[in-house]
């Protein structure tokens, strides 16, 4: 292994790898694009919160409440530093990336006529054909509610964003552009500062808001929101070795402070009578109610953990696993990769089809060998239609995967193919 990642050590830090699968087989977990496993430090951070400092943050004057507030706000600072946000006020804790995207879509929908955020008939919202349902359906619904038009950029046969009609799709009427940073199916990375800089330039040119869905990138490579130059970015804690039940919406401060709130309730108001309310600035404005404190604290520990190992090392490690996987899988008769086969602007997600073997059957066989992959449409149904498949089998790698995990995958697929095709 020519990477600096010590997989054995890392595996030992994730308790789940000491369990066995389907009898007595070690767990080979290749489904991190769905959700990642959690290191003990993350679980301990949550437990420490509950057993020593649990109280409602921002709401009490007693010692526990002070400590809970400090831990919760400390987690916000950690995430802000992790993303290189200008200020921790740019970090909003949500329950998931799905909530983050809905937050933005509803918040824009709540902007009254006259607000620069207001969306109406004649306006346009743009996504792409490689979006996860989470970054597609909220925009369909916003379009339906406001009368705006939903348009999308297509994808090429190789699995890249198609730019041929960029200027036509992102036109002057475009108010919001929501694009994924990395496809959860194809593995394609959309590098808005590299190969796709014209996309970003075009968005700026027409003055649209730019949301980046970074669910599949933030856990795997260094993302710097200031360098990226988007307006909003989201990711989910559970895919980044963090707890379930926590996500992040980053937004530029000057935008967040002007956006109308989404969820309303306690701890986000400035003043309230029975008739109406006024709201605090971000992030409080967007965090109504007693927040998911323990999960935020867990996420703080998760980003610390990832940073300590180094996102650059993690990305390099994953690239070398991806290379090995693509090379090995391609040797299997009838197997085709869905997504780029080269390693340029590519993450560690590999989708494939095997002639004569349905993904469900393949996944089932791999499961019997102790290998966890995902099969199905991966919440990207339109993309499946685009590539004329009903479903794919998807292996995704993370810092705790080794070359031997990849080899087991290749061998498992070959074995399963024999079982279904040659029997």
């Amino acid at each position: 292994m020519n990477s600096a990642i010590n997989v054995e050590k890392i595996k030992s830090e994730f308790p789940i790898f000491s369990r066995l699968i389907r009898g007595d087989q070690p767990l080979i977990y290749l489904d991190s694009a769905a959700t990642s496993q959690k290191p003990l430090v993350v679980l301990d951070a949550e437990r420490n919160f509950y057993t020593k400092h649990n109280a409602a943050a921002h709401r009490g004057a007693h010692q526990l409440a002070e400590e809970a507030t400090e831990l919760f706000e400390g987690a916000r600072s950690k995430v802000a530093r992790f993303l290189n946000a200008k200020s921790e006020n740019e970090i909003i804790f949500t329950k998931s990336a799905t909530e983050s995207i809905n937050l933005l879509a509803y918040s824009l929908g709540n902007a009254r006529p006259g607000s620069k955020f207001h969306i109406e008939k004649g306006d346009r919202i743009v996504v792409s054909e490689m979006e996860h349902h989470a970054n597609l359906i909220p925009w369909q619904e916003l379009a339906a509610r406001t009368g705006a038009e939903l348009k999308w950029l297509g994808v090429t046969d190789e699995g890249r964003l198609a730019l041929s009609n960029l200027e036509e799709i992102i036109d002057k009427r475009t108010k919001v552009v929501a694009l994924t940073h990395q496809s959860n199916v194809l593995g394609t990375i959309n590098d808005f500062n590299g190969a796709l800089s014209q996309v970003k330039n075009r968005i700026k040119e027409v003055g649209a808001l730019f949301l980046v869905d970074a669910c599949q990138s933030v856990p795997h490579l260094k993302v710097d929101v200031q360098a990226l130059g988007a307006d909003f970015l989201t990711f989910s804690g559970h895919k980044a070795v963090g707890p379930t039940g926590v996500g992040v919406l980053w937004g530029r401060n000057e935008l967040l402070d002007e956006l109308p709130p989404f969820l309303t309730g306690g701890s986000m108001i400035e003043n309230v009578t029975m008739e109406s309310a006024t709201y605090l600035p971000a992030p409080k404005r967007f965090e109504a109610g007693v927040p998911n404190m323990a999960q935020a604290v867990g996420l703080g520990a998760a980003v610390d953990y990832l940073e300590k190992i180094s996102l650059d090392e993690i990305h390099q490690h994953e690239l070398s696993l991806t290379k090995r996987a693509i090379e090995g899988l391609k040797q299997i008769p009838g197997l085709s990769i869905i997504g780029p086969e080269d390693l340029v602007d590519r993450g560690a997600v590999v989708s494939f089809a095997v002639a004569g073997v349905h993904p469900h059957d393949l996944g089932q066989a791999l499961d019997q060998y102790g290998i966890a992959v995902r099969t199905g449409h991966h919440c990207a149904w339109p993309l499946m239609r685009r590539y004329k498949v009903v479903a794919t089998t998807r292996a995704s790698f993370y810092l705790y995967n080794s070359e031997s995990d990849v080899d087991a995958l290749i061998e498992g697929v070959a074995r399963a193919r024999k079982y279904f095709v040659e029997r």
Partner: protein
């Protein structure tokens, strides 16, 4: 549990040589069902006079379990009375939702009992039931139509 007890010979045979997989024209009712969790689809043509199931034919894409299950279903229920057919659907469904406790009555379900092992894999139960539920839907529609 090893692979063979899930993928019994019978299942793989039906998968490779599915019965009635070709839509017969002029059905009494046509239905289209989708397994939303994976995208598998089936189109089913039912021919019936409202008392007896005359013919079941289908087209579709899906995994071996779903394809084999459509095949078994279309063969087993053909020629049965409406009541018998619905009874068998219920029996098959019960077996599949038993989490592996109910091994199925081979006299009634015939090749259908090969799917008893599927019940141990919750994520696959829907695959095995897809065609049967489509048939039930079609039958109920045909009855409603007759009234």
């Amino acid at each position: 549990m090893d692979l063979d007890s899930l993928y019994q010979e019978v299942i793989l045979d039906h998968y490779k040589r599915p019965l009635n997989k070709k839509l017969e024209p002029n059905p009494t009712v046509q239905v289209h069902h989708v397994n939303t969790s994976c995208g598998d689809e089936v189109t089913l043509n039912l021919h019936t006079d409202g008392r007896v199931v005359a013919k079941i034919s289908w087209e579709g894409v899906g995994c071996s379990i779903s394809q084999a299950s459509h095949s078994v279903m279309s063969d087993l229920l053909k020629g049965k009375s409406v009541e018998e057919a619905l009874g068998l659907v219920d029996e098959f469904q019960k077996m599949l939702q038993s989490k592996g406790i109910d091994a199925g009555n081979e006299e009634h379900l015939q090749d259908g009992v090969a799917f008893a092992g599927v019940a141990k894999f919750p994520a696959r139960v829907k695959c095995a039931l897809l065609g049967w539920m489509a048939f039930k839907d079609a039958l109920q529609q045909s009855i409603a139509k007759k009234r």
